[in-house]
Every structure is written in structure tokens, then in C-alpha cells.
């Protein structure tokens, strides 16, 4: 629970072998927060089963998707309206530090980092400093493609 809201953490692989039906059973809440940081892989079978499991929730309570992992973002960009059962509030994106020669996954908050480009067809990734050396990092994906789900 988080201030009266229910929080569910999903981790690992979501695919055709995953049992999703029981996840939302017996939830009684105003807002359901689903944390997707730990999802390492989800294929289209997993997406389909997810959409079907989430369908009965429509109108019952508000759903928020937070900390969407890169695997989730990839599917968001492949499949239109994958998570349209709720609101996406944050997601991870890869940044690269040239000085450290290391990649870091940074958490992007949509309300905080994309306010200026809210109505834009080309959202821009914010700058982040390397958590190790403090130097400015580069966004380590094709920005247009990785952020395309924000424009849907």
C-alpha cells in the first residue's frame, strides 16, 4: 500500500506461460499502481494476456503504470495502446557516459521531464548527469523511436 493506494510489483518475464488471471483478484482500491521496473521481457502473448486480464478492471479503479522497464517501453512502441487501460507516469531509458564507458538506466517522469514538449510530435529526452562521475550523459537509443509512444 502507498498512502491508501494499492501497489503491485511485477518482475521477470511475462509471456505465454505466465498466469496473469489472479493478479487483480480481490483488489479493492481507489487507485492501483503497477510498478513494472522488474519486467525483463514481455512478448506479444504476454501483452495479449495482460490486456485481457486488465479489461475487467476498466472503470473499477484508476490504474497507474510506473517505472516501466525498457522491455515494456519496447512493446509500447510496437503495439498501439498496449497500456491504455491506465496512465503511464514514468519509464526507464538508457543513457551512456562516455567518460565511464558505462550505460545507466535513468528514470524519466513524464509530468516532470516532458511538460515542455507535451504537445510536441517530437518529445525530447532530458539531460542526465552520470551517477558515477557527474558528467553529462548521452541518450543511448534512437530518441524518436524510443519516445514515440509518448506521442500516441
Amino acid at each position: 500500500m502507498r498512502g491508501g493506494d494499492t501497489v503491485i510489483f511485477l518482475e521477470g518475464v511475462i509471456n505465454e506461460r505466465t498466469e496473469l488471471n489472479g493478479i487483480f483478484k480481490d483488489i479493492d482500491t481507489g487507485t492501483l499502481i503497477i510498478n513494472l521496473k522488474g519486467v525483463t521481457r514481455i512478448n506479444s502473448c504476454g501483452v495479449r494476456d495482460w490486456v485481457n486480464a486488465a479489461k475487467p478492471l476498466a472503470g473499477k479503479f484508476r490504474i497507474i503504470y510506473e517505472h516501466c522497464s525498457r522491455a515494456i517501453v519496447e512493446q509500447l512502441n510496437m503495439i498501439v495502446n498496449f497500456l491504455n487501460s491506465g496512465t503511464i507516469v514514468s519509464f526507464y531509458a538508457p543513457y551512456y557516459c562516455d567518460a565511464c564507458e558505462a550505460e545507466h538506466e535513468m528514470l524519466l517522469d513524464i509530468a516532470q521531464h516532458f511538460t515542455d514538449s507535451a504537445d510536441s510530435d517530437e518529445p525530447e529526452a532530458p539531460d542526465f548527469d552520470c551517477p558515477q562521475c557527474g558528467k553529462t550523459m548521452e541518450f543511448n537509443e534512437d530518441e524518436d523511436k524510443y519516445l514515440s509512444f509518448l506521442t500516441e
Binding site: N15, E16, R17, N43, S44, C45, R48, E74, M78, V80
Partner: protein, 312 residues
């Protein structure tokens, strides 16, 4: 094994429209700007260099796939595509009444049987037409189509010898030198796919199916298929809104093919409203999806195109 696609559409035959052909011609002509097309050889070379769906069409005939194993003719489904297949067979022993065809029906929805009344070899005495399915009333279902209210030629008037065989699902059947496993699939009214094994090669025909559940017990017959011809009628998004309609999508097909170590996946049973541009984009998107899901996999994905042949 040689697999030829004679009909790749689902629901209803859907030939390319004049508008679609005109659009292709315009694209070709724009692409020919600056190309030397002075002589016939140059023109031939240019046309041969064009992508298949620009120089040709995906095809409008409904489901029919031919499998040749040496001299044996296996035919999967008798949609409108069986008519041109029959015309080709009539150039061989079938015109003399010396042909044998093995027709496997997954189910008897109209788009999968509508071509049989036009299958020329069935009118030649002496030809042997063997029907296989998991429905014990298949003869009645085929005969219904020849009811005089629907078609002027009764089934009995088709002079070839017709034999109806009922197969047991999940059991192996030795047919014309190959081992055939029929397996149940999810489709309104029931449907069955076929796994064919011969000389170490595996061909699987799975249409029509939704693969509503994709647990191992539902997909095991696809394991290690050299070629899987799969009903991938709808885009993934459209399939989400058509649950229980009995059709699959390319992304789900890729997931299953990767899980079952399929070598080549043919996207089949195309939605009749999808023109060739949409099918091209769907293929590209599906290949990108596969690269995202498993870049190391050697799974090859093709679009089933009428007139195309795959050798295993």
C-alpha cells in the same frame, strides 16, 4: 518437400482492385526514373529487380496450399485457390484420369471449401480424390455445397472417385509415404491443423486458428517445423479487439515460432481488406518484432504470396 501457395486469403477471395494496380504502376514508374529501359532485356531486368508485391500481387484466392512429396500431391484446404491448382494438375496425369490427390481440410468454413466445385481433376473419371479431416460428416458437408440451390453440379456428378477418410486427432496417420498428425485448434465450429513429417522434414499447416492459449500443450505440434504456414489474419491490435473470432496475428505467430524453434514462418490467411501495401508493412513490422524479441534466432519470416513455392 515443395510447398506452393495457390490461395492465401481468408474469409472471401479478394483480388487487387484497379486502384491498387494503378498505384503500383505509379510507384514503379517513379522508381524507373533515370533507368535505361530502351530494350526488352533492360525492361525484364528492371521488372525482375522489383519487390514481389510491387511487380506482382499477394493474391486474392482463398486458402489452398499444395505440398509435393516426390509424386504425391497433398492439398491443404480447397478455397478458391484450388481452381488454378486444378488447372495446373490437368497439365499432368490428372487429365488422363491417372492422378491421385490427397485433400486435407482443417474445417469447412466456406472460404476453405468454395473452390472444390471448380477443381477440374474431380470431373475426370479414373482420378482418385482422397479427402481427410477430423469431421465424421465431411462428405455431407462437401455435398451441402453442391446442393442445387447453391451450385448446379451435384457432388455425385463429379466423375472422379472420391474417398472420405476420418482422421483421429493427436494420432499419427501414414498417408502417401508421409506421417500426418492432425491437431485441434481454436476456431468457431472447431478446426484442425496438420503436421506432416517426411524424411526428416516437417511441414505444419495451421489455419484457421486463434491460438487463444499458447501453452506448450497447444503449440507442441509446431515444434521444429521447417515451414509453418499460420493463420495470421489480423494485426496484433486488431486481434485484441476480435477475441474469439478464431484468428491469430503475426506477433503471436512469432512468439510461438520462437518458442517452438520453427525455422520458417509463413504469414497466411490474409485479411481481405488488407491491400498489398498494408501486407508489406505488416511483414516489415513483424520482422522488426522478431529482431527485438530474439535477434539471435535464425527464424525466417515470409509473407505467403500466391504463386510462390518454398522448397524444404
Amino acid at each position: 518437400m515443395k510447398i506452393s501457395f495457390w490461395g492465401v486469403r481468408g474469409s472471401i477471395p479478394s483480388p487487387a482492385s484497379a486502384q491498387e494496380i494503378k498505384s503500383k504502376i505509379k510507384r514503379i514508374l517513379r522508381g524507373a526514373s533515370g533507368v535505361d529501359l530502351e530494350d526488352r532485356a533492360a525492361v525484364d531486368d528492371f521488372v525482375d529487380s522489383l519487390p514481389p508485391l510491387l511487380a506482382g500481387v499477394a493474391g486474392g484466392n482463398s486458402a489452398c496450399v499444395e505440398l509435393r512429396i516426390h509424386d504425391s500431391h497433398f492439398i491443404f484446404d480447397a478455397g478458391s485457390g484450388i481452381r488454378p491448382l486444378g488447372q495446373r494438375l490437368m497439365q499432368q496425369e490428372f487429365s488422363e484420369g491417372k492422378g491421385t490427390a490427397h485433400i486435407f481440410l482443417g474445417h469447412t468454413h466456406w472460404d476453405h471449401i468454395m473452390g472444390f466445385p471448380f477443381f477440374a481433376p474431380a470431373y475426370v473419371p479414373g482420378n482418385q480424390i482422397h479427402f481427410y479431416s477430423c469431421f465424421d460428416d465431411l462428405e455431407e458437408r462437401i455435398a451441402d455445397q453442391h446442393d442445387p440451390r447453391h451450385f448446379p453440379v451435384p457432388l455425385d456428378a463429379m466423375a472422379a472417385d472420391k474417398h472420405f477418410h476420418t482422421l483421429v486427432p493427436d494420432e499419427p496417420h501414414e498417408i502417401a509415404g508421409a506421417t500426418v498428425f492432425p491437431f485441434p485448434m481454436f476456431h468457431p465450429g472447431k478446426s484442425f491443423g496438420y503436421r506432416v513429417e517426411h524424411d526428416g522434414r516437417v511441414f505444419v499447416y495451421a489455419s484457421d486458428t486463434e491460438f487463444k492459449t499458447t501453452r506448450e500443450e497447444d503449440t507442441m505440434y509446431l515444434e521444429n517445423a521447417d515451414l509453418l504456414v499460420l493463420d495470421t489474419m489480423y494485426t496484433f491490435e486488431e486481434a485484441l479487439s476480435k477475441t474469439d473470432w478464431g484468428h491469430c496475428s503475426p506477433f503471436i505467430g512469432v512468439d510461438i515460432a520462437l518458442a517452438e524453434k520453427v525455422k520458417k514462418l509463413a504469414l497466411f490467411h490474409h485479411e481481405p481488406t488488407y491491400d498489398d501495401r498494408k501486407l508489406e508493412r505488416l511483414l516489415e513490422k513483424t520482422i522488426r518484432y522478431k529482431e527485438k524479441m530474439d535477434p539471435e534466432s535464425a527464424l525466417e519470416i515470409i509473407l505467403a504470396i500466391e504463386g510462390q513455392t518454398v522448397s524444404l
